[in-house]
């Protein structure tokens, strides 16, 4: 068992989780529900980038981790303000 094998297993698990989150976005009953599922998707993307860069042994994508994580927060905050103004649904 090398790191590469285990990393691929981890990426596969993340793929399962991402599929679950995307389906949840589709069947969600309210906007808040969707935003939370999308937020989980952002974290999954950050984790996948981390695993992939460790697998390829490259530091080129490490700055992207920060950008994606912070963009996710800004987007969530914006939608939260939007929900508050417009009302749920």
């Amino acid at each position: 068992m090398s790191f590469d094998t285990l990393a691929v297993v981890g990426l596969a698990l993340l793929g399962v989780a991402a599929t679950g989150a995307v389906v949840r976005v589709g069947i969600a009953s309210s906007l808040a529900d969707r935003v939370i599922a999308l937020d989980l998707l952002v974290v999954i993307a950050v984790m996948a980038i981390a695993i992939e860069s460790a697998r390829d042994d490259t530091t080129a994508f490490l700055d992207d981790l920060m950008v994606v994580a912070l963009l996710g927060f800004v987007a969530t905050t914006a939608v939260a303000r939007f929900i508050e103004r417009r009302g749920a649904r």
Partner: protein
């Protein structure tokens, strides 16, 4: 050996994220679902980052992972909390079998002006 530990951390962190995604289906309303997404996901990210940093084996890289993890675990719970707060204030109903809603008085007072 280090490789195995790093891989193990990555797998466990990813498995936690899967559990977090399952929680999105198992809980009945937004206010319960946010616990699954808001807590398990940052913990899963912490484990995955630890595994990746261990695999790199460089202090500079580990410091960057630590920074991202700090930002993520500070902002992610705050973000989902803001969404749920907005949902409650704009009148999202709790699941029908939830019996205690300690904020309902405050919400009623606010709606009445």
């Amino acid at each position: 050996m280090t490789e195995l530990v790093a891989g193990g951390l990555v797998v466990v962190g990813s498995a936690l994220t899967v559990i977090s995604a399952i929680g999105l289906y198992r809980f009945r309303d937004v206010f319960a679902r946010v616990h699954a997404a808001g807590k398990a996901a940052p913990l899963g990210a912490a484990l995955v980052f630890a595994g990746a940093a261990l695999q790199f084996g460089e202090l500079a890289v580990a410091a960057r992972f630590a920074l991202v993890l700090g930002l993520l675990s500070l902002t992610f719970p705050v973000g989902v909390h803001m969404v749920v707060r907005a949902a409650y204030r704009s009148g999202t109903e709790l699941a029908p079998d939830v019996t205690v809603d300690e904020l309902s008085d405050a919400r009623r007072r606010r709606d009445e002006g």
